[in-house]
């Protein structure tokens, strides 16, 4: 499946149909080549939208430790099927990815599977304990070349520890990706704090617990002159703080999940834990603000926060269930539904938020470089007119906790190319 | 009872009903050799005013006050599962109770006999009468259980395609007994009682 590919009649970033030639791992030429196939394998694009390979800043591959939920192999396959060519694997594994040894193991597993570039994320603090910095430098210098560090799952809530981490990573162009959740305000929290949480009798997760941390961290980052990345922004108030910080010139970037662009806390009224996630689903006003922020670039990237869980952790009463939803295989369709079909973002905007900017934030060389001749041949082909109905048993992920069961979503990933090699063809593993 | 019959014809008018009740009152006193330990219990809905009227007549003729009350049989029915749970009617047992008494159950129509069977079960949970007798305004036949009435206002042979409707002033503004054809388009008509 490697070698030379001629993608015929595809529409780069939704533009006019043209032919794209992939050779030696790069995009060789674009333009009409009606009769000259040059010995390439031909894929009849027939109006498929061509995007640069998607880059996910936030995924949970669960290996090592929870291979019953997902492995690097199954998760990265799910990513490729979702149109991704690179994913950042979060560090809250078991053991935690807080040493060069663990991140190199994850990186190696990713290479062996070969579906996408797996970029391990290193923990900020040892054991995610929030007290002592992990060996960030060792992880940066390892074969995994870690640049993104996050205690995701937990918040780095100690202000001094956060300050030191922000300062320390400057030495190797790293970035701290904060999971913003003030721990005392959210003890045993189950869903968004609002009218519905009071009615349902589920402890609330107030928006201010996210916003207060983001406010503190953008000020800290500006004070020490460091980059900051904010994971899974979920509230309108957080958007306001980010807009203010960027206007002041702070070097802060932010991501939003697909589910926070589409779903609201009303779904919790079913008490079905498939809708239980951290940060929780919020209100329609929050969804609207997040969409507008992604459209105007205040939020830089879509990141899936793909969080697989086995059936027994989700098929229970709400309070006992794990937090998290699948995301890799439905991310692009959800973004199309929430942003493209609503006219908020065009295809070049999709490419920017799901490939270019995430690659830049994660310092992923060779990814997010667009579709110009000379760029590495990381290409995703999407049938924008198709509608998929989500079937949890038909997913490549080992888990099936998707909130979109039975829902029809627009767009289907037809093919994915990683440096000129097809990882997905005709919507299936190549 | 819903009046869903077509062309209902009257078989008893107000005078007929009054005469029947008076006759039954005499028969009750005769059979029981006086007012004695009588208690009349009407089966809701229309058995209840009939029991009260009967008690008034028995009291006049027999020159003694006869206690009258009501006995709801809903919880003892054998056909509960065929329809959503029904509302309960009121049970009112007169202060003397039923132990050792002659209880006369009173109902408007005797048909399959199942309602009376339920009433007998309900009664046995309340105490042990010395005897139980049954007075009905109309006996329309088609018994499904070995049950018979001691006192009958009118014997009305009917077909199963017919509906018998008793009207009483307390509920319907007038006293009458009507027979009509069962409207087949109506689901769940009150056929088996």
């Amino acid at each position: 499946m490697t070698g030379t590919w001629l993608l015929r009649g595809v529409r780069p970033l939704g533009g006019d149909p043209t032919d794209v030639l992939l050779r030696d791992g790069r995009i060789a030429e674009t333009g009409s080549r009606r009769n000259d196939t040059s010995g390439a394998q031909v894929l009849d694009g027939d109006g498929l939208v061509a995007l640069p390979g998607l880059v996910d800043l936030h995924t949970h591959l669960r290996e090592p430790g929870r291979e019953d939920a997902e492995t690097v192999a199954s998760g990265s396959l799910a990513a490729a099927l979702g149109g991704y060519t690179a994913v950042h694997a979060m560090a809250n594994t078991d053991p935690v990815a807080d040493t060069a040894g663990v991140v190199e193991q994850v990186w190696r597993l990713g290479r062996e599977a070969g579906h996408v570039d797996v970029r391990p994320v290193g923990a900020v603090t040892a054991g995610l304990g929030g007290q002592r910095l992990a060996e960030l430098g060792a992880m940066a210098e390892s074969a995994a070349a870690v640049r993104v560090f996050s205690d995701d799952g937990r918040c780095v809530s100690d202000a001094v520890v956060m300050r030191r981490a922000l300062e320390y990573v400057k030495a190797f162009d790293g970035v701290i990706a904060q999971h913003a959740q003030e721990p005392r305000l959210t003890e045993d929290a189950q869903m968004n704090e609002g009218v519905l949480s009071g009615v349902l009798g589920l402890r609330g997760w107030p928006a201010v617990a996210e916003e207060a941390i983001i406010a503190r961290d953008v000020l800290l980052a500006a004070h020490v002159g460091s980059r900051l990345h904010v994971c899974h922004v979920s509230t309108a108030g957080s958007v306001d703080i980010l807009r203010w910080a960027k206007a002041k010139g702070c070097d802060v970037t932010a991501e939003v999940t697909p589910h926070h662009l589409l779903l609201t806390d009303e779904l919790a009224a079913t008490y079905d834990p498939v809708y239980k996630v951290n940060p929780p689903l919020r209100t329609a006003e929050d969804v609207e603000a997040l969409r507008a922020a992604l459209a105007d670039g205040t939020i830089d990237a879509v990141a899936t926060d793909h969080a697989p869980h086995p059936v027994e952790d989700k098929e229970t009463e709400w309070a006992a269930a794990a937090f998290g939803m699948l995301g890799l295989e439905t991310a692009l369709p959800v973004v199309i539904a929430a942003m493209v079909e609503t006219g908020l973002l065009d295809w070049s905007g999709v490419a920017d938020r799901m490939s270019t900017r995430p690659a830049r934030i994660g310092r992923v060389a060779g990814q997010g470089r667009g579709l110009e001749p000379g760029a590495p041949a990381n290409v995703t082909l999407v049938d924008a007119a198709a509608r998929i109905t989500v079937d949890p048993t038909g997913l490549a992920s080992l888990s099936s906790n998707t909130p979109y069961v039975g829902r029809a979503l627009p767009g289907r990933v037809v093919a994915t190319f990683l440096r000129g090699r097809a990882t997905v063809l005709d919507g299936k593993q190549a | 009872m819903p009046a869903r019959q077509r062309s209902a014809r009257s078989v008893l008018d107000a005078d007929d009903v009054a005469r029947a009740l008076t006759r039954i009152a005499h028969q009750v006193l005769e059979r029981n050799r006086g007012p004695g330990e009588l208690v009349l219990l009407g089966i809701p809905t229309r058995g209840v005013p009939l029991a009260r009227r009967l008690a008034e007549r028995v009291a006049t003729i027999g020159d003694a006050d006869i206690p009258a009350g009501s006995l709801d049989v809903t919880m003892h029915r054998d056909d509960l599962r065929l329809r959503p749970a029904r509302a309960l009617d009121h049970t009112d047992i007169p202060p003397g109770g039923v132990d050792g008494k002659v209880v006369v159950l009173v109902d408007d129509v005797l048909f399959s006999g199942r309602t009376v069977r339920a009433a007998l079960d309900a009664l046995s949970d309340l105490g042990r009468p010395r005897a139980v007798q049954l007075a009905v305004l109309v006996d329309r036949g088609h018994r499904e259980l070995p049950i018979r009435a001691d006192y009958v206002g009118k014997n009305l042979p009917t077909s199963l395609a017919e509906v018998v409707q008793v009207q009483l002033a307390e509920y319907d503004g007038v006293d009458a007994v009507l027979i009509g054809q069962l409207d087949r388009q109506v689901e769940h008509a009150e056929v088996a009682r």
């Binding site: 704090e193 609002g194 009218v195 519905l196 949480s197 009071g198 009615v199 349902l200 009798g201 589920l202 609330g204 107030p206 079913t270 008490y271 079905d272 027994e312 098929e315 229970t316 009463e317 709400w318 309070a319 006992a320 | 709801d72 919880m75 003892h76 509960l80 599962r81 329809r83 959503p84 749970a85 029904r86 509302a87 309960l88 009617d89 009121h90 049970t91 079960d121 949970d125 309340l126 105490g127």
Partner: protein
């Protein structure tokens, strides 16, 4: 109606049907044979994941008086304490053929999950789920109130205490509103849930202003431990500002009654004087509970085929 999960499941007609049926069934307590054959051959399972002798006995008595078979499944003495899941427990009960499952669970929404999951086919009755609802408690409270006051329409009831954590409060607000009662919730601001303005009731932070206008006051249980989480500074301050003591009892109109779902913290939310006064309905709430629960089981099960 197949399940009773929330007081919001009941329309006004449904609620009145329960109260009227309970009225008739209450006579059973006076009879020599306290039994009706109506649910003979049905199986009612009491599935209690939370300790509650009082409520469990009430449901057990209700089911037995209707001649149903009762199975008590309590989390303590079973494999549940070793971590058997809600789903596996439900599947076991289904295999035993439960016509109705009465569930009390510490997690809000657990009865809802049982009802919609497809694990059991019977009716689910919520006997209290976390801080969410306790619909049969609200029904017996409404029944008690109607008996004492004669009518419910237009009455004013104050519900006082830890509303935030109270499933009794939620169910009562919904049901009393359905029955035409004006409810006022009284609590310190820390114990009122966010979004309370959207509830079909009024709120007040001043108990003394509300009492003289109330036909009934319902005191909710307050846990002393809440002061460790800073909901109020001390038990003393709570009692002084929100407790029903003798002075406040006297401030009530002459006809007004005092209610409490139990168990009481005598001296914290309610004084002995108030609890033991003639206005108190606390003891009859318990016996009314059996009649009301009989009515609920009858209305849910009698019209159905056996499992």
């Amino acid at each position: 109606m197949k399940h009773l999960l929330s007081a919001a499941d009941l329309s006004r007609d449904d609620a009145l049907a329960v109260l009227d049926t309970a009225e008739e069934l209450a006579q059973l307590a006076e009879r020599p044979i306290k039994k009706l054959p109506t649910l003979r051959g049905r199986t009612v399972v009491n599935l209690f994941f939370e300790d509650s002798t009082r409520t469990r006995i009430s449901f057990e008595a209700a089911a037995k008086r209707l001649s149903a078979d009762v199975i008590n499944f309590s989390a303590k003495g079973s494999s549940l304490s070793k971590g058997e899941s809600l789903k596996d427990t439900a599947l076991t009960l289904e295999a035993m053929g439960a016509d109705a499952v009465v569930v009390r669970h510490p997690a809000s929404g657990a009865p809802h999950r049982l009802a919609v999951s497809g694990w059991i086919r019977g009716s689910v009755v919520n006997a209290g789920d976390g801080t969410h609802e306790h619909p049969t408690q609200a029904l017996l409270d409404a029944y008690t109130l109607r008996r004492r006051l004669g009518s419910l329409e237009g009455r004013r009831v104050a519900v006082v205490g830890d509303v935030l954590h109270s499933r009794v409060a939620r169910s009562n607000v919904l049901l009393l509103h359905t029955l035409g009662v004006e409810v006022t919730l009284v609590a310190p601001p820390t114990l009122l849930p966010v979004g309370i303005e959207a509830w079909p009731c009024a709120t007040s932070l001043d108990l003394d202003a509300v009492l003289p206008k109330s036909d009934a006051v319902m005191m909710l249980r307050v846990q002393r431990e809440r002061m460790n989480a800073s909901y109020f500074p001390s038990a003393r301050e709570y009692t002084r500002r929100y407790g029903l003591d003798g002075w406040r009892l006297a401030a009530l109109p002459d006809h007004a009654v005092v209610m409490h779902p139990g168990p009481m913290n005598r001296g914290l939310e309610i004084s002995a004087v108030a609890a033991d006064s003639a206005r108190s309905t606390i003891v009859e709430q318990v016996s009314n509970g059996v009649s009301v629960r009989m009515a609920v089981l009858y209305l849910l099960l009698a019209g159905e085929e056996a499992a």
